[in-house]
Symmetry: C2
Subunit: 180 residues, 2 copies
């Protein structure tokens, strides 16, 4: 059910997807969905929450990098790979924030902030160690994440470039952006 909802919401938007359509996709009647969720809002929140938790968990499972330079490479490759593998979830996580209740919004935002802070810490450590040069770690964090997430807007599995090649190209741009 959550899988069906994810696909439909990513394609049409949360407000445009009715419980009836989700039920039809699953192969049941609308009433049956309410055995699993109390309301539509909860469904959206759970999709976003699961996505953000997967993101933070997957990051936590990576090997500890030797230095900030390796940490930056690891972050870059991880971000591109994780997000390009989940276009629907990423789309929803960015587009449907406004459809969350204030409490649910705050919870998702806190997780996103936690993730962003990991890149900021890498940048600050790299500057301290003399590997990187940048004036505003927070601005650079937002700029790099926007750049990397942007891969999702154009990358296609069947395209000319493989994801490995794309990772390499973006890694080069990231390194230049912060190089000492």
């Amino acid at each position: 059910m959550r899988e069906a909802a994810r696909r439909l919401i990513a394609r049409h938007g949360f407000a445009a997807v009715s419980m009836r359509k989700i039920a039809a996709e699953v192969g049941v009647q609308a009433g049956a969905l309410y055995n699993y969720i109390p309301d539509k809002q909860t469904l959206l929140f759970e999709i976003m929450q699961a996505h953000m938790e997967e993101l933070l968990t997957a990051r936590a499972e990576l090997d500890a990098p030797a230095d900030p330079v390796q940490a930056l490479e690891q972050f870059t490759r991880f971000h591109i790979r994780f997000h390009s593998n989940r276009p629907d979830e990423v789309f929803i996580a960015y587009m449907e924030l406004r459809n969350l209740t204030p409490e649910n919004f705050a919870a998702i935002e806190a997780m996103r902030r936690t993730y962003e802070d990991q890149l900021t810490e890498i940048l600050v450590a790299g500057v301290a160690a003399g590997h990187f040069r940048l004036a505003e770690p927070r601005v650079t964090t937002m700029a790099l994440i926007a750049m990397l997430t942007g891969v999702n807007t154009w990358f296609r599995e069947e395209g000319r470039l493989s994801l490995d090649e794309v990772e390499g190209i973006y890694l080069d741009m990231v390194r230049r952006t912060v190089a000492a």
Copy 2:
């Protein structure tokens, strides 16, 4: 009316905004809106179309830059300034593409592609002149535009940094990304 629709759609999403709410914002009844547009879809399309036309017109009115290096600076500053001045329109133009009919979608996409091509041309010319070094002009175009548009997700007029300062920081990152 279009102004009211823009504000509401940016905040709640196209599907979540009813003609009644737009009418209430304007101060009339819902039926009266249909003297100005044939249907809701046309309203969305006209908002997006007007935005893209303004974008292309504003670009066309800029002075011709002396070389690719200046062209890149001009593009960067223009992009940040134009988009940060119109957060609602930018949000709608990126988020509501899926709510356009196929014909309307194609029209908006063509205009967006025209704009992107302008940056690609600057990059290619800069490479040819030996100012820039980059492997994939099209990938770099998408990466830079994503990075620059990302300013809208965090920049606030009341914040610590002025828009001028932000422009300078992003210009530095853009230059590094393509530097020979």
